[in-house]
Symmetry: C2
């Protein structure tokens, strides 16, 4: 299994690094072929780590991970190329956030989500929204937070959600802690969790936290 991780920010590098540790071939994709951050990452991360353009990364991959900011996701995926995403699982871990005057804002919100935008724009990609509700360090090391806290998967393709759940298992998330919320439209719900995440981040002063869903019956 070969992965493309699109986006050279902390989220992308963290996921790419963990995938290399797990034994996968990984290309960290960026807008340009010779992005120095991506090249430096690939050099440091060893023989299974590669750097390339968004299109290089997607073309080589079996599974792609969208780890760019939500507001530039469609541009990055267009650069990756619909033909390189065709039929592939595409994990969307981003959030449509921006800061305006120091305040967190979301766009799209409520009547749409980035994940839905991506699925509409790339109907032959098998989009799964997941991981966006935790900090990237927690994504790949859930034991940083005590307790049986949860992740969510959203998407229209059940087999793709199953494949995503297996990868999350390799990251340390047992399958019973991964809650399937339904179709890609439910990505709205997890993208709208971000303001609460951000208020808690401000309250705690760190990002090592997550939510557990408790239920009766």
């Amino acid at each position: 299994m070969r992965y493309a991780v699109l986006g050279t920010g902390e989220v992308g590098r963290t996921l790419a690094g963990r995938l290399v540790e797990l034994g996968y071939e990984v290309t960290l994709g960026s807008r340009t072929k010779d992005n120095p951050i991506a090249v430096e990452w690939a050099t440091a991360a060893g023989g299974r780590a590669h750097a390339g353009s968004f299109a290089d990364a997607a073309a080589a991959a079996d599974v792609a991970i969208n780890a760019v900011g939500g507001r530039v996701a469609l541009d990055a995926l267009r650069a990756a190329g619909a033909e390189h995403l065709h039929g592939k699982v595409l994990l969307d871990v981003c959030n449509p956030l921006a800061f305006e005057d120091g305040r967190l804002r979301l766009d799209p919100v409520e009547s749409d989500s980035v994940a839905e935008q991506i699925q509409r724009a790339f109907p032959h990609a098998r989009v799964v929204k997941t991981l966006n509700t935790v900090n990237c360090q927690v994504m790949v090391a859930p034991a940083r937070v005590p307790g049986d806290h949860n992740l969510f998967v959203c998407g229209d393709d059940d087999a793709a959600k199953q494949q995503a759940t297996e990868l999350l298992g390799e990251f340390g998330w047992p399958p019973d802690r991964v809650l399937d919320l339904g179709g890609i439209r439910s990505a709205r719900a997890v993208e709208m969790l971000l303001p609460l995440w951000f208020n808690l981040f401000q309250k705690f002063g760190h990002a090592d936290f997550n939510f557990e869903v408790h239920r009766g019956h």
Copy 2:
């Protein structure tokens, strides 16, 4: 301590009933003085239970609870009367939801919240957003859901949030399970939790669930 519970729906009746059980005088307020649902509730709930108009209820109360739908909250509170809310703690437990074509929608959302609308319209009320993230049965009986799951309080008045936390304690929520998210603006975050709540409600087929925030460090 005398309570006004504004709204005769399931949320209002459940909160009002629990307050009567706790020994408080409670007026269930509605648009009209002789709302049959409110009169029936007051008759059944005993000597400390009263029915009246929104204005009757608010005028008699030390603390008011807004339990009408979020989209009619301002109208109900205007009918209650700013003079009857002046200087009083006003717990806002509502959500700005509506169903359009069977789909949950929120309005306002993200750039505003019902709680902020209320605080702006009634600047001399001491608004605390709380309880809106759980079903009304869980509000007054948190043990319906196992585990140390949390509630949130949001508001600009620290003493009002403290008073709200004490009432939540009487409902069965220990103070360490009530997380203060900050000023009234943070009500946006808890109102935006509703789509996730609703997806989980659809998934589980019941409303006996809630979130626990786990944190490291």
